[in-house]
Symmetry: C2
Subunit: 228 residues, 2 copies
Amino acid sequence: MERSVDSELRQLKEKILTMGGYVEKALDDSLKALIQRKPELFDNVYEVEKEVNQKHIEVDEACLRILARQAPMAADLRLVVAVIKINTDLERMGDQAVNISHNAKRYITEPPLKPLIDLPRMAEEVRAMVRFSLDAFVRGDVALAEKVLAMDDLVDGLKNQIYRELITYIVGDPKVTERALNLILIARNLERLGDHATNIAEDVIFAISGKDIRHGGGAGAQAGSTQK
Amino acid sequence: MERSVDSELRQLKEKILTMGGYVEKALDDSLKALIQRKPELFDNVYEVEKEVNQKHIEVDEACLRILARQAPMAADLRLVVAVIKINTDLERMGDQAVNISHNAKRYITEPPLKPLIDLPRMAEEVRAMVRFSLDAFVRGDVALAEKVLAMDDLVDGLKNQIYRELITYIVGDPKVTERALNLILIARNLERLGDHATNIAEDVIFAISGKDIRHGGGAGAQAGSTQK
């Protein structure tokens, strides 16, 4: 028979997965609205983000309930503490999808600035980081979580490249200033989504292995949880 | 005689206060370096941020230890869960002080752009939010925490004002693009510091009253934990 703590932890994981699904949906719609210039998708993002916020509260309540009733130990306790943190990251990822929408909304009312430079590529990388971090959580897959950590450097590099390129656009033609700034801010929103996926990956590694790899505590992959 | 859980919770609070002190120091030095143009202060910021990261790990370990050994209940449990979250926010506030330094470093190598517009005022507001959120935590002062929530709107307004003003600078003279962008990014770093202080205030209110006021769950003060 399943222990009562196991059943509660299983339900907790399911809640995080549902929440992760909402975050992915919000992110996808915000990017599709930007790249395919479909303003009708923005409302979806705002609606889905409300679901994320609702789950945010539910997950926190579930964690408190499990800690109070079950007093979980060892790996179970680490899992609950990891979920408290993952919950916060997911909620902020929902906020970032909304921020992308705000910045994209202004952008797509005007003619496009060249073909968005490397933004679609950066978006794809970040999208993969989000997916992998959630998969790593479900499967308890440390190797996949480590892959997420390694991807963060590429995303940071793309962001810097986009920034430099857009500055040369502005200097060349100040009339593009607002549009270029919108894209710079969207690149930062994406970078932060990548940072949150990195945080989730670190929490997964901690929950499974008990190893705190943040702040250089791990071997191999870069483990900083910095955000710019 | 003091219960063992009380003694551990007291030590936990002290750790958070020490960590908060480091965050304040890092923020003060990064702002002083920017406003008084003192590049020699940047190294202090990087050093102090290392202390913040060290405390980040220690606090997490202490929380896990208390949960495992003491299985705290009710208000004690809420306090530990709040500290897990406050710890994350403080660590990211340290990151933001570093980001301000990165952006300010580039800025102060060139002649200033007018007298920094409303940035010093915005910095003062955010500085107060950080202080009040930590004071609210130490004293368990819900009214002070609510004051922090109310200050967030003013900070967001200042950020938007700074953004609009800097765009007109760029459009008027593209040579100032990089410097203006540095200031726009610093305004965003400050805004995020304010958001983290808001998160801390919400966690303080939750720890003390058991009320989750996030996502519109509270009466009165605006309680969103959004970040742009």
